[in-house]
C-alpha cells in the first residue's frame, strides 16, 4: 500500500498537464471534474497511505521510494524519490485534504471568472509541487518543489492580470521570496561542499557526526536555510509580500497564502532540525524572529480595514507562533499549530471569500455589517474559525495548539519568560483583532445588500473545515486536560521531543488559565470597542498620538516604506544612471568602427567598372609586393 506514495504527487501533475494542454477545448463541467477530481483522488491515496503508515508502521518509522535517478554528475545523483515519515504524513494529509476542499470551493467561486481552466491548471500544479516539496528525500528535489510553489504563487497572485496592480503584487511576492531562496540555494551549496550529500537523512546524520554543537559552519548552514524559510513563510524581515499577495483570487489566498505554501519554511526548519540543533544561536534567532513577527503583524492586523488583509497579517502572525515553537525546540507543537492553522485559516479565507462574492466583491469590512442572519452558514463557520484563531479555551482546536506553544515558550529549556510574555501578548491581540473582524462584519447594521448567497460547493468545505477547526485539537490533549498526546507521540518518530524540567509540570494549569482569561478578555474588549460602545473607541482613536500610531500600524510598521527608500529607489536611481549601460559602450564602439568603415567603403562603390578594374590592379600589386618582398 505504501508503494502508492508516488501517486499522491503524480495525480495533480497529470491533472495540470491535461488542463494546461487541452483546457481551452474542454467544457467547464469536465474542467471541474479534472481539476477537483485529481486533488480528490490524490487525497484518497494520501489517506490510504497514511492509514497504512499508521496502522502498520514500516521499519524505522520511515519509508522511501525511489522512482528514478534525476541526474548523475560526478558522483552526485539526486533521485526523483520520496521519503515518508510521520511529519510528512501530516503535511501530506493537510495539503491534499484541505487542498481538495479548497478546490471544491473554487469550482463554484471561480465559475464566472475568465480563465477557469487556467486557474485549475495552476492550482493542480501548485498541489503537485507542494507535495513534491514535502515528500522529497533530497534537498535538490525539495528545492524544485520549493520553486514550483513559488512559481504557482506568482501565477495565481497575478491571475487577474488585466489589472496591473495584481501583476505588481505578483512581482513583489516573487522578488521578495527570491531573496530568501537565494540564501537557501547558497545554503544547499554549503551543505553539499561540506557534507558531500544532499540526501536529507544522510545529510542530517553526517552533519551531527562532522560538526560540533555551535561550530561556525553549522551556524552558517542553519542561518542560510533560515533565510529561505523566512522568505517563504513571510517572516520578519521578508514579510512584506504576503499582504499584497491577497490580490490573488480568494481560494488562492486560502490554499497558498494561508494553509500550505507559507508554512513551507516551517517544514524546512523542522525537516533539517538536526542542523538547527547544532547551531543553538540560530535556534534562538528563529524564536526571536517568530516572536517579533507575531507581535508586529498582530498589531498591524488590528488596524486593517480590508478583511483579507486582516487575515493575511494574522497568517504572518500565526506562522510567527510556529517559528517561535521551532526556535524553542518544541518541534511537534510547531507542526501541530501548522495543522490546526491550516484548518482554521483556510476556513476563514474561504468564508471571507464567500462574503466577498456575496457582496459584489466588497472587501472593506466597514462597508459590511449585519451579515449574521443573511449568511448563516458563513457566519457560524466563520465564528468557528475565529474562535479557533483566537484560541477560545477548551472548545476550539486553536486553543490546544497555541496553548502548547505558549506553555513551551516558557517551560522548555530554550524558552524564556520573555518569549512567553510576547506570545501571550500576541494571543491577546489576536483575540481582539479576530473578534473585531467578526463584530464589524457580521453584527451591527446591514450596510450592503446580499446579492446571491453561496451554493452547496461553497458551504460543504466551510462546514467540514469548521468542524475540523473545532475538533482537530482533541488529538493532542495537554497534561492538565486528559493527557492524551497522540499527535506529539506520533511526531516523536520524526522529531525530537521537547524537554521540560519536571518541577514545572505542576504549574501548567496556571499558564492555561492566564491564556484563557486573556483570550476572553480580548474578546470582551473587541465587543466593547467595536459593537457595544463605539463612542469609547472613537474617543481612544481621536487623539493625535493614537492616530499616528494607527497609521504606523496600518502601513505594516513602515516596512514597505523603508524597503522602498532603502532598496527600490536606490536601485531605480542606479538603473537611471546606467540607462546607457557602461559595458554596452565597448560593444557600441565596435559597432561604431564598423559603421565608419562602412561609410568609407561605400565611397569606393562608384558603379564605374573601370575604377573597379583599377582596384583589382592595385590589390594585385600589393599582393605581389607582399609575396615577393615580404
Amino acid at each position: 500500500m505504501l508503494d502508492l506514495l508516488w501517486t499522491v504527487p503524480a495525480i495533480p501533475f497529470v491533472g495540470f498537464l491535461i488542463l494546461a494542454f487541452f483546457g481551452k477545448r474542454l467544457s467547464r463541467y469536465i474542467i471541474e471534474a479534472i481539476g477537483v477530481g485529481s486533488i480528490g483522488l490524490s487525497a484518497i491515496f494520501a489517506i490510504l497511505v497514511a492509514i497504512n503508515f499508521m496502522s502498520s508502521p514500516p521499519a524505522g518509522y520511515s519509508f522511501s521510494q525511489r522512482l528514478w535517478t534525476w541526474m548523475s554528475v560526478a558522483g552526485f545523483s539526486p533521485g526523483i524519490s520520496f521519503y515518508l515519515d510521520s511529519m510528512t504524513v501530516v503535511f501530506m494529509l493537510v495539503i491534499t485534504v484541505v487542498g481538495f476542499l479548497i478546490h471544491m470551493y473554487s469550482a463554484e467561486y471561480m465559475l464566472n471568472e475568465e480563465g477557469y481552466s487556467r486557474f485549475f491548471a495552476y492550482m493542480n500544479l501548485f498541489v503537485g509541487s507542494m507535495l513534491t516539496l514535502v515528500l522529497a528525500d533530497n534537498l535538490v528535489l525539495l528545492y524544485l518543489g520549493w520553486e514550483g510553489v513559488g512559481l504557482c504563487s506568482y501565477l495565481l497572485i497575478g491571475f487577474l492580470y488585466k489589472d496591473p496592480s495584481n501583476g505588481l503584487a505578483a512581482r513583489k511576492a516573487f522578488v521578495v521570496t527570491r531573496v530568501g531562496d537565494t540564501a537557501m540555494g547558497i545554503g544547499l551549496f554549503l551543505l553539499y561542499t561540506q557534507l558531500g550529500t544532499l540526501q536529507i537523512q544522510d545529510l542530517l546524520s553526517s552533519a551531527s557526526d562532522t560538526w560540533q554543537v555551535g561550530s561556525p559552519l553549522a551556524i552558517a548552514a542553519a542561518a542560510l536555510l533560515l533565510g529561505g524559510a523566512v522568505g517563504k513563510s513571510a517572516q520578519l524581515p521578508l514579510q512584506t509580500w504576503l499582504p499584497d499577495a491577497m490580490a490573488g483570487p480568494t481560494p488562492t489566498s486560502a490554499l497558498i497564502h494561508a494553509a500550505t505554501m507559507v508554512t513551507a519554511g516551517v517544514y524546512l526548519i523542522a525537516r533539517t532540525h538536526v542542523i538547527f540543533q547544532l547551531a543553538p544561536i540560530v535556534m534562538t534567532f528563529v524564536a526571536i524572529v517568530g516572536a517579533a513577527t507575531l507581535l508586529i503583524s498582530g498589531f498591524t492586523a488590528l488596524t486593517q480595514v480590508d478583511i483579507k488583509r486582516v487575515l493575511a497579517y494574522s497568517t504572518i502572525s500565526q506562522i510567527g507562533y510556529m517559528f517561535l515553537a521551532l526556535g524553542i525546540g518544541a518541534w511537534a507543537a510547531g507542526i501541530f499549530h501548522f495543522m490546526i492553522h491550516a484548518f482554521f485559516k483556510a476556513l476563514l479565507f474561504l468564508a471571507a471569500g464567500a462574503i466577498i462574492v456575496s457582496l459584489h466583491h466588497e472587501q472593506n469590512m466597514f462597508k459590511m455589517g449585519g451579515l449574521k442572519n443573511k449568511l448563516p452558514v458563513t457566519f457560524w463557520t466563520f465564528l468557528a474559525g475565529s474562535a479557533s484563531l483566537a484560541a477560545l479555551p477548551l472548545v476550539t482546536a486553536g486553543f490546544y495548539s497555541k496553548d502548547a506553544i505558549l506553555w513551551y515558550s516558557f517551560s522548555s529549556e530554550q524558552g524564556s519568560p520573555w518569549f512567553y510574555v510576547i506570545a501571550l501578548l500576541g494571543a491577546f491581540i489576536t483575540s481582539i483583532y479576530t473578534f473585531r473582524m467578526v463584530f464589524i462584519t457580521f453584527f451591527g447594521e446591514a450596510k450592503i445588500e446580499v446579492s446571491h448567497p453561496p451554493g452547496k460547493r461553497i458551504k460543504i468545505p466551510l462546514i467540514v473545515l469548521g468542524v475540523l477547526s473545532i475538533i482537530g485539537g482533541f488529538i493532542e490533549l495537554p497534561h492538565t486536560l486528559g493527557h492524551w498526546p497522540a499527535f506529539s507521540e506520533f511526531m516523536s518518530n520524526a522529531l525530537p521531543e521537547v524537554h521540560v524540567p519536571h518541577e514545572l509540570y505542576s504549574l501548567e494549569w496556571i499558564f492555561q488559565i492566564i491564556a484563557g482569561i486573556l483570550t476572553l478578555f480580548g474578546i470582551f474588549i473587541a465587543y466593547q470597542l467595536f459593537l457595544k460602545n463605539t463612542a469609547l473607541k472613537d474617543k481612544i482613536t481621536q487623539n493625535s498620538f493614537s492616530r499616528v500610531l494607527a497609521r504606523f500600524w496600518f502601513s505594516g510598521w513602515g516596512f514597505d516604506w523603508v524597503y522602498d527608500k532603502l532598496f527600490v529607489q536606490p536601485y531605480i536611481w542606479l538603473a537611471n544612471i546606467n540607462k546607457r549601460d557602461v559595458f554596452d559602450l565597448i560593444y557600441s564602439l565596435i559597432a561604431a568602427v564598423n559603421r565608419i568603415f562602412h561609410v568609407i567603403l561605400t565611397l569606393t562603390q562608384t558603379g564605374r567598372l573601370r575604377w573597379y578594374a583599377v582596384g583589382i590592379v592595385f590589390g594585385a600589386i600589393v599582393t605581389l609586393y607582399v609575396v615577393v618582398f615580404a
Binding site: T602, L603, Q605, T606, G607, R608, L609, R610, A613, V614, V617
Partner: protein, 102 residues
C-alpha cells in the same frame, strides 16, 4: 634555329600584359575592353608556354590550352553581356552603366 632567351620572351609577355591592362583601364568602349582582357589572357598564356619550354615540361602548354578554352567561354558570355548592354543603353560606353553605385 634562332633561340630566343627566356628573358626576352617574358619581357614580351609583360609588355603584352601591360598593353592589355592599359587598354582595359583607359578605354571606355566595352568591346575594346573585352579585347584588352583577351590580350592579357594571351600574355599570361605566353608566359606559361615559355616556362614549359624552359623546363622542357608539357605542363605549360596544357595550361595554355586551358586558358584558351576559358577565354572562349569568357568571350561568349562577355559578348552576350555586351549585346544586352547595347540594347539597354543604346551605347557601348561602359560608364553609362554606372547605376549600381554606393
Amino acid at each position: 634555329m634562332i633561340s630566343i632567351s627566356l628573358e626576352m620572351g617574358l619581357l614580351l609577355s609583360a609588355i603584352l600584359f601591360l598593353l592589355g591592362l592599359i587598354g582595359l583601364l583607359v578605354r571606355r568602349n566595352i568591346v575594346f575592353m573585352l579585347m584588352s582582357v583577351e590580350i592579357m589572357l594571351n600574355a599570361a598564356g605566353l608566359a606559361f608556354v615559355l616556362g614549359g619550354s624552359r623546363w622542357a615540361q608539357a605542363d605549360g602548354q596544357v595550361m595554355f590550352i586551358f586558358i584558351l578554352t576559358m577565354a572562349a567561354a569568357e568571350v561568349s558570355v562577355g559578348l552576350a553581356l555586351i549585346l544586352l548592354l547595347y540594347h539597354k543603353f543604346k551605347t557601348l560606353d561602359v560608364d553609362a552603366a554606372s547605376k549600381m553605385r554606393g
